[in-house]
Amino acid sequence: MKARVHVTLKSGVLDPQGKAIEHALGSLGFSGVGHVRQGKVIELDLVETDRAKAEASVDAMCKKLLANTVIENYAIELEG
C-alpha cells in the first residue's frame, strides 16, 4: 500500500517560504496571485495491506516524526 502525507502549516502560522514565493511570482510579472502557502508531501511505500492498520501506523509516524504538530497539520491519503 502507498501512503501520502500532506503536511501544511496551521492557519495563522507565518509561512516565510510562501510569502517569498508570492513576492517572487509578482516580480516575475505573474499578476492575480493571492496568498501562497508551501507545504510538504511525504510518500511512503508500506508493506501493510490492511487499510485501518496502515492508517493507524502512518498516523503514529506523523505524530512522532513527519509533522511538527505544534505548528503543522497533516492529512493522510492511502492508495492501493
Binding site: 495563522g12 502560522v13 507565518l14 516565510p16 513576492h23 511538527n68 505544534v70 505548528i71
Partner: protein
C-alpha cells in the same frame, strides 16, 4: 483568542492574565476606572516579570555598571562599550527558554532573531552570535530531540542572516529535563557617533512601523515566559512564533542604510509584547505620549482585534520615530528591501498611550502607570548556607587516572561540541580569527587588526552549591577565558535563569549569585552593561540549577598577538600559572567519575584572578607566549588533554612531590589557573614576583604522559573526545 472590546473584566480574566488581585487594584487606581480588555492585556504584559523585572529589580541594582569605557549600561536595548578608534561594541544576551522547550527549532531560531534585533536597533552591524545551552540528562527521552531542534534552529537563523555563530557552551543536567535553557547573545560593532537610542522625542513626530506584518503570533508569549510550567502547558500549545531570517537580513540592511542618514530620532525593536512594549518604552524614556492608529498597522491576518495587535509577538518588526518630513526618504529604503513601512501614529504631549481603532478609542493609559507604577517586589529570600569544604583526601581516588580522564573528556559535559558548531556558519563575514573550540572566540574588527574576544560561561553546579561563590566564578571564568586568548576583558552581559522567585530558596539563589557577580565585576573592573532575567524555570515545582549565564567581551589590540589553546611546537616548555589546592568539592570528577555532588565549590580569589590574569595577558601581548588555556571543569588533566588534541601534539608532564592526593592534583578545579607554553628560549621570561608559575613539562610526542600516573595516546584522547556527541545524536 479573538475578544471583543466590550468584554467584561472578571476576576478569572484578571487571573488568566497573570495579574494578582492587588495588581489589578493598582490598575484601577492608575486609570481611575475599569480597564477594557485591550488595556488589561497591555498592563498584564507590561507588568509581567519578563517586562517589569518586578522580582529582580531590587537585586539587579547591586551590579556595577560603570567604567570609563562604558558608553551605555543596562536600560537600553543592549549595552555599549568603547573599543577605540571611534568604534563601539554593542552586545546583549537573552533567553528563549520556554518557547524552545515547546518548539525547539522555532523557539531557538526566534531567540536568535530577537537578540540580533536588540543589537542592530542601536546602530550596530551584528558581527558575532553566541549560544549558551542547557539540556536535561542525556537519558531523558526528550533531550535528543531538543538538542537536535535547538541546534538546527540556531543555525537555521544565524546562518541565513549571515552572522557567524562563533561559540557558546552546552551542558547536560537532569535539572533541565523539563525546562531547557536557550540563551543567545549577539555582539555588534558601530561607530561611536552613530549609536541609536530608544527615547522618543518631538511632539507631533511620526511613529513608524517597519518590517514584517503583524499576525496572531505568540499572543501571551511574554506572560507565558513568566509563568511556571505545568504538564498541560505542553498540551495547550500556545501559538509559537515562526522566524523568518530572510526578512531579518533585509531588515538589518534596511535599518543600517537608514541609520547612515539623519532621519531617525529613536528606534526600538518589537520584542516580547511587540508593539505594546516597544511603544511604551520609547514614550516612557522620552517622557512623551504616543497616539497609535491600529488600522494602519500592517496586518497578516484578517479581523485582528486591538488586543491581538497590541500583544502580538510577530517577529522581524521595528518601531521608529522619524524626523518630520523624512517619511518618504525612509519609505523608499524599506521598499527597496521589500519590507512593510507604515506611519502608524505620532508623538503627543499627553503622556498617555492612546490607541484608536476604526475611529474609536480602543485604549488610553498613562505611560507612567505602565512603567513606573509597575509593581516591584522585595520577595523574601534565604541565601542557602555554603556547603562545607570537602577535603580532597576524603574524595575517593580513582585507581585508573587514564580511564577517569577519558571518561571526563568523553562524557556529556566535556566532550567536543564540534557536532554543534559545525552546523553553525562560524566563518561568514570572513573575520573569525579564533573559531569555536578555544577559550574565547575572536572576531576581527573589520578592516583593522583589533579583535573582539567573546566567551559565555557559568557553572551551575557551583551556583547550586554556593550561589555567591558560583556568581563570582561565572564572571571570573569569562574573564579568564578572554584573558587566555590575550584580550583585555571589558564588560559583560548576563542572562539570569532561575526557578520560581516566589520561593525564598530560589530568590536566595538569585540574590546570592548577584552578590557574587557584583563583587567579581567590581574587583575585575568588568561591569555589567546589559542583561536579561528569566524566572519560573521549573516544572511541577522543581527548579533548574541556578544558572546566571555570563557573556563577556574583551578587546585584543593586535590579533597577531593572540594565544590559542593548541600546542604548537615540539619542545615548548609548559608552565602552570596559579596555585593548586586540589579542590574537588562540586567538581566534575566527583560528579562523573565518583557519582557524587557534595562539598563547597572552589573558592574564587578575585585578587589572585586579577594578578595571574594580568600576568598571562602581558606575556601574550609581549609575544612571549602564544599557547594558553585556562583551567576549568576537570582541572589540569582535562586542560592538558584539550591542548594536546587541539595541537595534535603530545606532552610529557612531571609531577612534583605534593601533599595532595594524585586525583586532586589531576582533576582539582582550583580557580585563577592557566597553562601556557613557550619555546625554551623565552621561558626564562615567564616569572614575576607574587605569581605562582611552575614549569611542569614539555610539549612533544604522540601521547599525553603525566608522571607515572597516566599515559594516553593522542588518538585515544581524540576518539573519546570526538565521539560522544555525534554518537548520542546519531
Amino acid at each position: 483568542m479573538t475578544r471583543a472590546i466590550a468584554q467584561p473584566i472578571t476576576p478569572e480574566l484578571v487571573a488568566e492574565h497573570g495579574l494578582t488581585a492587588d495588581e489589578y487594584q493598582r490598575i484601577l487606581e492608575a486609570l481611575g476606572r475599569e480597564p477594557n480588555i485591550t488595556e488589561l492585556g497591555i498592563y498584564s504584559v507590561m507588568w509581567s516579570e519578563h517586562c517589569s523585572y518586578k522580582s529582580s529589580k531590587v537585586h539587579l541594582k547591586k551590579l556595577p555598571t560603570a567604567a570609563p569605557w562604558v558608553i551605555q549600561g543596562p536600560g537600553e536595548n543592549a549595552g555599549v562599550i568603547d573599543i577605540g578608534d571611534g568604534k563601539a561594541a554593542i552586545f546583549k544576551m537573552e533567553s528563549h527558554n520556554h518557547p524552545s522547550f515547546i518548539e525547539p527549532y522555532q523557539g531557538a531560531a526566534t531567540g536568535v532573531g530577537g537578540i540580533l534585533r536588540d543589537v542592530f536597533t542601536m546602530g550596530a552591524r551584528p558581527v558575532a552570535n553566541m549560544n549558551a545551552l542547557r539540556f536535561g540528562s542525556p537519558d531523558h527521552p526528550k533531550t535528543r530531540h531538543l538538542v537536535a531542534g535547538v541546534v538546527a534552529g540556531i543555525g537555521g537563523y544565524g546562518n541565513c542572516v549571515g552572522v557567524p555563530t562563533v561559540g557558546g557552551e552546552t551542558d547536560f543536567d537532569e535539572s533541565y529535563n523539563g525546562n531547557i535553557l536557550v540563551n543567545a547573545m549577539t555582539v555588534g560593532v558601530a561607530d561611536t557617533d552613530r549609536i541609536f537610542y530608544s527615547a522618543a522625542a518631538g511632539i507631533g513626530n511620526p511613529v513608524v512601523y517597519v518590517g514584517s506584518k503583524t499576525g496572531r503570533d505568540g499572543i501571551h508569549g511574554a506572560t507565558m515566559a513568566s509563568a511556571e510550567f505545568t504538564e498541560d502547558s505542553e498540551e495547550k500549545r500556545p501559538t509559537v512564533q515562526v522566524g523568518d531570517p530572510f526578512t531579518e537580513k533585509l531588515l538589518i540592511e534596511a535599518c543600517l542604510e537608514l541609520m547612515a542618514s539623519d532621519a531617525i530620532i529613536a528606534i526600538q525593536d518589537m520584542g516580547a509584547a511587540g508593539l505594546t512594549s516597544s511603544s511604551v518604552e520609547m514614550a516612557s524614556k522620552g517622557g512623551v505620549g504616543f497616539e497609535l492608529d491600529l488600522d494602519k498597522v500592517p496586518q497578516r491576518e484578517e479581523n485582528m482585534t486591538p488586543y491581538e495587535m497590541c500583544l502580538s509577538e510577530s517577529q522581524e518588526r521595528m518601531l521608529m520615530v522619524l524626523k518630520p518630513g523624512r517619511e518618504d526618504f525612509a519609505r523608499a529604503i524599506f521598499e527597496k528591501w521589500d519590507l512593510d513601512f507604515a506611519v502608524i501614529g505620532r508623538i503627543t504631549d499627553t503622556g498617555n498611550l492612546t490607541l484608536t481603532f476604526k475611529g474609536e478609542v480602543a485604549g488610553d493609559m498613562p505611560i507612567s502607570s505602565l512603567v513606573d507604577d509597575a509593581p516591584s517586589y522585595k520577595r523574601p529570600y534565604q541565601i542557602p548556607a555554603a556547603r562545607p569544604y570537602l577535603d580532597p583526601h576524603d574524595v575517593p581516588a580513582t585507581n585508573d587516572p587514564a580511564e577517569a580522564l577519558l571518561k571526563l573528556i568523553g562524557g556529556p559535559n566535556l566532550s567536543s561540541r564540534r557536532w554543534i558548531w559545525e552546523q553553525y556558519d562560524h566563518m561568514v563575514m570572513a573575520d573569525t580569527v579564533q573559531r569555536p573550540g578555544g577559550d574565547a572566540a575572536v572576531v576581527r574588527v573589520h578592516g583593522t587588526n583589533k579583535g573582539l574576544a567573546i566567551s559565555t560561561d557559568c557553572t551551575p553546579r557551583y551556583c547550586y552549591a554556593d550561589p555567591v561563590e558560583g556568581g563570582r566564578q561565572a564572571v571570573a571564568e569569562t574573564w579568564r577565558n578572554i584573558t587566555a586568548v590575550g584580550a583585555k576583558p571589558l564588560a559583560i552581559t548576563d542572562c539570569m535563569n532561575f526557578g520560581n522567585p516566589e520561593r525564598p530558596d530560589i530568590m536566595g539563589q538569585f540574590a546570592g549569585c548577584i552578590e557574587g557577580m557584583a563583587e567579581a565585576c567590581a574587583i575585575l573592573d568588568y561591569p555589567v552593561v546589559s542583561g536579561n532575567v528569566s524566572l519560573y524555570n521549573e516544572t511541577n515545582g522543581k527548579g533548574i540549577l541556578p544558572t546566571p549565564a555570563i557573556g563577556g567581551v574583551g578587546l585584543l589590540d593586535d590579533i597577531n598577538r593572540m594565544a590559542t589553546i593548541s600546542f604548537k611546537r615540539e619542545g615548548d616548555v609548559i608552565f602552570l600559572i596559579g596555585e593548586s589546592n586540589g579542590h574537588l568539592g562540586a567538581s566534575l570528577y566527583l560528579k562523573e567519575v565518583i557519582g557524587g555532588n557534595e562539598g563547597a565549590p572552589p573558592p574564587v580569589d578575585l585578587e589572585a584572578e586579577r594578578r595571574n590574569g594580568d600576568f598571562v595577558r602581558s606575556l601574550i601581548a609581549e609575544g612571549i607566549v602564544d599557547t594558553c588555556h585556562d583551567l576549568s571543569g576537570g582541572g589540569l588533566a582535562v586542560a592538558l588533554a584539550e591542548m594536546c588534541m587541539a595541537g595534535k601534539m603530545g606532552a610529557k608532564i612531571e609531577l612534583k612531590d605534593s601533599p595532595l592526593p594524585l586525583h586532586a592534583l589531576l582533576f582539582g578545579e582550583d580557580q585563577a589557573r592557566y597553562l601556557i607554553a613557550a619555546p625554551e628560549s623565552r621561558s626564562h621570561q615567564i616569572t614575576a614576583t607574587g605569581i605562582p608559575a611552575t614549569k611542569i613539562g614539555r610539549v612533544g610526542g604522540e601521547r599525553l604522559m603525566i608522571g607515572g600516573a597516566l599515559d594516553i595516546t593522542l588518538s585515544d584522547l581524540q576518539s573519546a573526545h570526538q565521539s560522544w556527541l555525534p554518537a548520542y545524536m546519531a
